[in-house]
């Protein structure tokens, strides 16, 4: 039954696409579609509403300001996942076919679990899976994971950059010797993922690292922080998640550990992570791949063309310019840029997922291009390739002043050369397990 | 009457948290007889049945059954030895059908393993059919055919009592313990139940120990009466002997019961 309904629509879609190619005229379905596996309820709703709000606002902005990319407008629809894996999969399957003939460009679930569950599917369906700032570290190796893009920053780069920053603060990486660093991590695969890298770096630079686990959800951390108090570390790296972050800050205060020596990672860096801790959060430092705030041309422009026109996606307009919102905008910029790059090669028309993938692999954002986009300082310089699906690996550091984040550093780069062999070892193991033959990237154009 | 008694209680005592429920009770039940336990409420009758089939463990004393002696009887062991019973407040499996309840009574006779049953292999089918036949015999015997597939919890009280008897009989017991089998019944139902108990004794040669308050029924039904009061034995003999015993009259028959 359903196939009877579905197939004609696909057929019509193909026909219209074919016709528009032949005649060169613009059809009604001259749109590029983004399936959005968003989450606006449940425990992680705060992140979801911000991120998807920013993403949608940017797409809207490109539509309003420039009429899309080369006349191809963007369209999207949302499907609520509640951050639950099965719902994410259901949404993926429901939306992957495109909308009203507009083909899907890429999926952006902003959820590690959903990303993992749709990883194989995205390769089969030839639909890029964008896991900005998160996801499988070894998917950085695009030769094994052609359709997965942990843009900007994978988890390994994250810790490496933090250690580099601590080194900076101590007056050079050689001064790390003998320092004591504690990592407080969420008791989950996500939390544990970077532990081996920290141990590796500890060996390399001669600092002492102690790994302390906080069981999920992390609403009770007394014993962990008493332990930290006993160790008296120079720095605490907070690899938190949800409620664990504010509780960590509160408990730190309770045990007398200074907030300005706690460094939050990429999932501990939003307003929602700091604000609930109240005064205890003041001074807390975290990494970010993009500053918060509205002081960038592109954000000013979005405010003018989208928000002021009453077309903004945020329910609470106060959240404009927050960490998650800006991440959504950055994600929008990168997705749209990929479409633009791909159109330059494949033609000014709606593209298939496979074509958009080529676009992602050939993204090249230098300072000049970023200035053009009005995103200089907001987005780090980024160059992707067949073998490198991360591209950047740099972060800036920000500090919570009790009300908002203030950027306190320039871009700090991760030691990606050191990490690459570890990533490849893991990706090759995966390839072997799944029987994948890696692409030969030297042959890719 | 056989040479060795089927059941022999020797100086049984039982207490709960220091409160004595049964004190030093001894008596014997011969093969094939119907023995009635009588006495006022709280005399320890039900507790005594519970000791016999291992629901409670006595503080001291010995239980002799079928020539064996036990300091403690476990429920499962009692069932294996051939002791079946019914309960004062009906202990049927309320969510199951009448047939299934009766079939559970045959659980010790099932020979096939659960794996055979799960895959319908080996002895499973023949076994199931055999148990079913036996169960149906009992169902016929107690005339509850028409409720065979009813869920027990939905049946009236009198019928439930009969189903419970059926479940007990399905195990082909040597000793049947009945705790107030006629409680709450009208005259007609009582005589019906009495007839079932007598038929059971005659047809299957089952020894019966029962608790009953209705003295008329007791005197008509039993071969042997034991009288309890405050956890002590105050009388033991044939119905006629007991009826004449002054202690019994004082303790029990003299009261308003």
């Amino acid at each position: 039954m359903l196939s009877i309904i579905k197939k004609p629509s696909a057929l019509i879609g193909a026909l219209t696409l074919g016709l528009s190619l032949l005649s060169g005229t613009v059809q009604a379905a001259n749109e590029q579609y983004f399936p959005l596996q968003s989450y606006r309820v449940g425990p992680y709703a705060a992140g979801g509403t911000g991120f998807f709000g920013g993403f949608i606002d940017y797409l809207q902005y490109v539509n309003l300001k420039e009429g899309g990319v080369n006349g191809v407008k963007f369209t999207w629809s949302e499907c609520e996942t509640e951050y639950v894996v099965e719902k994410g999969v259901e949404c993926y399957e429901r939306l992957k076919k495109g909308l009203n003939g507009a083909p899907a460009a890429a999926t952006n679930p902003l959820s590690v679990g959903i990303a993992y569950a749709t990883l194989d599917r995205s390769a089969t369906d030839k639909l890029p899976l964008i896991t900005i700032n998160h996801g499988r570290t070894d998917s950085t190796d695009g030769s094994v994971f052609p359709y997965v893009f942990p843009l900007q920053l994978n988890p390994y780069s994250e810790v490496s950059a933090i250690i580099n920053y601590i080194g900076d603060k101590s007056g050079g990486l050689d001064k790390l010797k003998g320092k004591k660093i504690v990592t407080l991590f969420h008791g989950s695969p996500y939390g544990k993922e970077t532990n081996p890298i920290l141990e590796l770096l500890a060996k390399k630079y001669g600092f002492q690292v102690t790994l302390i686990e906080v069981p999920h959800p992390g609403n009770e951390q007394q014993s962990q922080w008493l332990n930290i108090r006993r160790i008296k570390p120079d720095w605490v790296i907070l690899r938190g998640w949800g409620v664990m972050n504010p509780v960590a800050l509160k408990t730190a205060q309770k045990t007398g550990f200074p907030a300005d020596h706690i460094i939050g990672n990429i999932w501990s860096n939003s307003e929602e992570d700091a604000a609930p801790a109240g005064a205890a959060a003041k001074g807390f430092i975290s990494i970010t791949t993009h500053p918060s705030g509205t002081n960038f041309p592109v954000l000013q422009d979005i405010d003018k063309t989208v928000l002021k026109a009453g077309k903004g996606n945020l329910q609470d307009s106060k959240r404009f310019g927050t960490v998650y919102y800006n991440l959504g905008v950055v994600n929008g910029i990168l997705n749209v840029e990929a479409v633009r790059v791909a159109q330059a090669k494949f033609g000014k028309r709606p593209l298939t997922g496979e074509e958009v993938r080529w676009g992602f692999e050939n993204i090249k954002l230098d300072d000049a291009r970023l200035k053009q986009l009005g995103a200089y300082g907001l987005v780090q310089p980024l160059k992707l390739s067949c073998s490198d699906h991360e591209g950047g690996g740099a972060v800036r550091f920000q500090q919570w002043d009790g009300k908002q984040w203030k950027v306190i550093s320039d871009w700090v780069q991760a030691d990606r050369k050191l990490l690459r062999p570890i990533i490849e070892e893991s990706s090759h193991k995966y390839a072997k397990e799944k029987g994948i033959t890696p692409r030969d990237c030297s042959k890719e154009s | 009457m056989g040479a060795t008694p089927l059941l022999e209680l020797q100086r049984i005592s039982l207490s709960f948290k220091g409160v004595k429920a049964i004190t030093d009770i001894s008596f014997t039940v011969e093969q094939g007889e119907i023995c009635a336990l009588i006495g006022p409420n709280g005399a320890g009758k039900s507790s005594l049945l519970n000791v016999i089939n291992g629901v409670y463990q006595p503080d001291q004393g010995l239980i002799g059954f079928n020539g064996q002696r036990y300091q403690k009887m476990q429920s499962h062991q009692a069932a294996v030895q051939g002791i079946a019973r019914t309960f004062q407040n009906i202990a049927l499996f309320k969510g199951m059908s009448v047939l299934d309840n009766v079939l559970t009574g045959r659980n010790l006779k099932v020979k096939s393993s659960w794996i055979e049953q799960a895959f319908h292999i080996g002895r499973a089918l023949a076994d199931e059919i055999k148990q079913r036949q036996k169960a149906e015999e009992i169902i016929d015997f107690l005339r509850i055919n028409q409720w065979r597939n009813s869920i027990v919890g939905t049946l009236p009280y009198g019928l439930q009592k009969r189903v419970e008897l059926a479940r007990a009989l399905a195990s082909e017991p040597r000793l049947l313990l009945l705790d107030e089998p006629m409680a709450g019944m009208n005259r007609e139902e009582k005589s019906e139940m009495s007839a079932f108990i007598l038929d059971t004794q005659r047809e299957f040669g089952t020894t019966v120990v029962l608790i009953e308050h209705d003295i008329g029924v007791v005197m008509g039904l039993s071969d042997h009466v034991v009288v309890l009061d405050y956890g002590k034995k105050v009388g033991d003999g044939t119905p006629d002997e007991v009826r004449k015993s002054p202690e019994v009259i004082a303790a029990y028959l003299g009261t308003t019961h």
Partner: protein, 293 residues
């Protein structure tokens, strides 16, 4: 040694926080024999309502009063819609009904107040206090004191008032209580309302600790082992159970964690409770009924 004491006191104080949630359970279990899994959602709901009112500029005590009234209304609704139709059903059925209830309450709470995280400041400093080299949290001390006052209040309520006496009668024997003319429904409603009040106090303290958000409802998972150890029917038991769980899980995490791997606080209380159960099936203070057949 000093560190050991620090962990121990920290654990004991955290344990009292668990007790706060557990007390709500005990009240309801005593009066209606229901193991109320929705206690956690009630904590969430009350804290969320309170903080949302506060954020909208409603003064502290007015918010408190309004929230309390909401909890009483909730208790009334629960008695009407859930408890009354399920009277005389097996405890497991009632337990599962409270699971459904917790879903409803969580859904309503989020529909009404949204899912974002709220900070809650009760105006109690959380700066650490050093006493003889030992670290104490002012906030935890305050919570402990609150728990103490609450227990005092509840024991006064149960021992000195008419409601309390009827409640104890109901807890003892429902049929007998009915026979002497105690209105069961009314008692249930009152007890659920008091449990709602306890939930509100717990919600405020927990909310100030964690921020008011969804995972507040998860504190119920910590209260369960507390109840097992303390017994379902004793408020004193809930306090002692909380102290035992709090102290032992912290000590286990600190001293056992490094040996077998950290993050054991989630299951350790359950294993401890399980051991308790095997030794004392009715908890330390609970009474075991003799099984009658």
């Amino acid at each position: 040694m000093e560190f050991f004491l620090e962990v121990l006191t920290g654990g004991l104080l955290a344990g009292l926080m668990y007790s706060l949630v557990a007390i709500g359970f005990v009240l309801i279990y005593k009066a209606s024999g229901v193991f109320n899994f929705a206690q956690g959602s009630m904590v969430l709901f009350s804290a969320l309502t309170f903080v949302s009112l506060l954020e909208r500029g409603v003064p502290f005590w007015v918010s408190f009063a309004v929230t309390l009234l909401t909890m009483i209304a909730l208790a009334w609704a629960i008695e009407r819609v859930v408890l009354r139709p399920l009277v005389n059903r097996p405890p497991i059925t009632l337990f599962m009904a409270t699971l459904g209830l917790s879903y409803i309450i969580e859904g309503v709470a989020q529909a009404m107040w949204g899912a974002q995280v709220h900070g809650l400041e009760l105006g109690i400093s959380d700066a650490p206090l050093e006493i003889g080299g030992m670290l104490l949290s002012q906030f935890d001390l305050f919570s402990a004191a609150t728990a103490g006052i609450l227990v005092l209040f509840l024991s006064l309520l149960f021992n000195k008032t008419r409601i309390g006496i009827s409640l104890r009668a109901v807890a003892d024997d429902q049929l007998a209580a009915l026979a002497v003319g105690i209105k069961l429904q009314r008692i249930w409603m009152i007890v659920w309302a008091v449990a709602g009040f306890v939930g509100l106090v717990a919600g405020l303290l927990w909310g100030a600790r964690l921020g008011v958000q969804f995972s507040l409802s998860l504190v119920v998972l910590k209260a369960l082992p507390v109840l097992i150890i303390g017994g379902f029917t004793s408020i004193g038991g809930a306090i002692v159970g909380g102290l035992i769980i709090g102290a032992s899980e912290k000590l286990a995490e600190v001293y056992l964690g490094p040996i077998i791997g950290g993050g054991i606080e989630n299951w350790f209380p359950y294993v401890l409770a399980l051991l308790f159960l095997l030794v004392r099936p009715a908890g330390i203070f609970g009474e075991r009924a003799i099984e009658r057949v």
